[in-house]
């Protein structure tokens, strides 16, 4: 083996230990067959997927599938290059116009993934002499975007507005050259940013604000525009980034802004310029899904009903969850438990339920988590099966029932 690969040996040893313990590899799950938006065959078993972020369940929507098939037949399987070099397809531009209209914004830019949207915007919007002040629990794409750029990077404690203000105050005159970065719904714990307070603080210090609505698009707000809409502060949010890979059921990312000058930044962003543009089928299904999302009151109601059902059931079993009901429900395992989190995760899988296993250091707060994400496509009966599976975990952990 080359010496270059030697440094990954400890990581591989940890992974091997996890597999030896549960007989399953929680980070190398093979989905052998996709049955529907909520069920797949994993390791030979048909399981209910409760870890897909498929919030509106649109991955099998007949209109989205038809739009994608039509686009492939008419425009081919890929664009084979970047928009700058190969040109934009009319559909790329149409999607940008539709996103701008949906968010009531003058400018929108589409990226090939949500990760690249954050990478592009955070690395380029701020530069030398500017500051990024980010919530400590922000997604890896935000961290990586800051590393690609030249701005100073400072973190504030998760959802702690006093801590944010203290750090802005400390920056003095630099606060007006500061981009505050938060998320609508945080992907691991499922909690929301206290956006009204954050907007108030950023306004007082003259800072700019970016909200990543990856997990809140289609989930929050009357029209599904996310936390900024729900908190009624859309006019005060300068930049919104997001992804097509959750509620819109495809792949891609975007940035919209109330500032038309966002357009000036398009070709300055390397993660936009130097990568192949989204394939016609992805753009087509995303456009269709955006139409459904914008009229998706019924889907959102179903999603929240499912989230409430699961949250209530798990709370009654005595699990430690986030305080708020959310389509992301993090089941925190007691740090003191003797039960191996990987075994508990394997137990759920053997009972036909797939959730995400989150281990420290990825788990905020240091306690291992079994992370669930709900879908509008889940049926109440499926939620009950999930609850039955969790009951066995509850028994193993000897949690005290709250009813």
């Amino acid at each position: 083996m080359t010496i270059l690969l030697e440094k990954f040996r400890p990581l591989e040893e940890k992974r091997a230990a996890l597999v030896a313990c549960s007989g399953e590899d929680p980070f190398h799950v093979i989905v052998e067959r996709v049955v529907s938006a909520t069920e797949s065959v994993v390791n030979g078993r048909q399981v209910i997927m409760v870890g897909t972020n498929n919030y509106l369940g649109l991955t099998f929507d007949p209109d989205c599938v038809a739009a994608a098939c039509k686009a492939i037949r008419e425009e081919g399987t890929g664009t084979t290059g970047s928009r700058m070099a190969n040109g934009s397809y009319a559909a790329h531009v149409a999607l940008e116009n539709e996103l701008a209209a949906f968010f009531n914004c003058p400018a929108a830019i589409v990226f090939s993934t949500g990760y690249m949207a954050n990478l592009g915007v955070l690395s380029t919007l701020t530069g030398a002499g500017d500051v990024i002040l980010m919530d400590a629990d922000c997604h890896a794409s935000i961290y990586d975007g800051t590393r690609l750029g030249a701005a100073q990077v400072i973190r504030f404690r998760h959802n702690n507005t006093a801590d944010l203000e203290k750090r802005l105050q400390r920056l003095g005159e630099q606060s007006s050259r500061t981009l505050v970065v938060v998320e609508g719904i945080y992907s691991m714990l499922g909690d929301c940013a206290p956006l009204r307070e954050i907007v108030d603080i950023k306004r007082r210090y003259g800072a700019s604000l970016l909200v990543d609505e990856a997990h809140s698009l289609g989930v929050l707000g009357e029209h599904g525009r996310g936390l900024a809409e729900e908190a009624e502060v859309e006019d005060e949010v300068d930049f919104i980034t997001g992804t097509f890979s959750k509620s819109l059921g495809s792949i891609g990312g975007f940035c919209v802004s109330r500032l038309p000058e966002l357009e000036h930044m398009r070709y300055a962003m390397r993660p936009y310029t130097f990568t192949a543009s989204s394939s016609p089928s992805l753009i087509a299904s995303t456009r269709q899904a955006l139409q459904i999302l914008s009229h998706g009151v019924e889907l959102r109601t179903k999603l929240w009903d499912n989230a409430t059902r699961l949250h209530q059931g798990l709370t009654e079993m005595g699990f430690d969850l986030g305080a708020e009901i959310s389509p992301v429900i993090a089941v925190k395992l007691p740090v003191s438990t003797q039960e191996d989190p990987t075994l508990l995760w394997g137990e759920l899988l053997s009972q036909g339920v797939y959730v995400n296993l989150v281990l420290p250091p990825a788990a905020p707060g240091g306690s291992p988590m079994l992370r669930c994400s709900l879908s509008a496509a889940h049926s109440p009966e499926q939620i009950d099966v999930v609850l039955e599976a969790f009951a066995t975990v509850s028994a193993k952990l000897q949690l005290e029932h709250q009813t």
């Binding site: 500051v131 400590a136 100073q152 990077v153 400072i154 973190r155 504030f156 750090r167 400390r170 250091p361």
Partner: protein, 82 residues
């Protein structure tokens, strides 16, 4: 203005609780390899240091910091600038 020695003494106090083996800290102590902090704990420590010294410590300095002594040199510069 705080001297490097004064900064070091305060850093030892802030970092000591992170050392599970309670090792004796010095300028040469490596924060990750010797004290045993992972990357997440290092960032937590940075926020504590910011609050203790009332100074902004950009994460950008972290790639250049291996030992406590190196951290102290960066802090000295940051405190002079603030």
């Amino acid at each position: 203005m705080q001297s490097k020695e004064q900064i070091l003494d305060q850093l030892y106090e802030l970092i000591q609780p992170y050392s599970e083996q309670s090792i004796v800290l010095s300028e040469q102590t490596r924060i990750m390899d010797d004290v045993g902090l992972d990357s997440m704990k290092v960032m937590e420590l940075v926020m504590q240091i910011e609050d203790h010294f009332d100074v902004s410590v950009p994460l950008n300095i972290l790639p250049d910091v291996t030992t406590i002594g190196e951290f102290a040199i960066h802090l000295e510069t940051l405190l002079k600038g603030s």
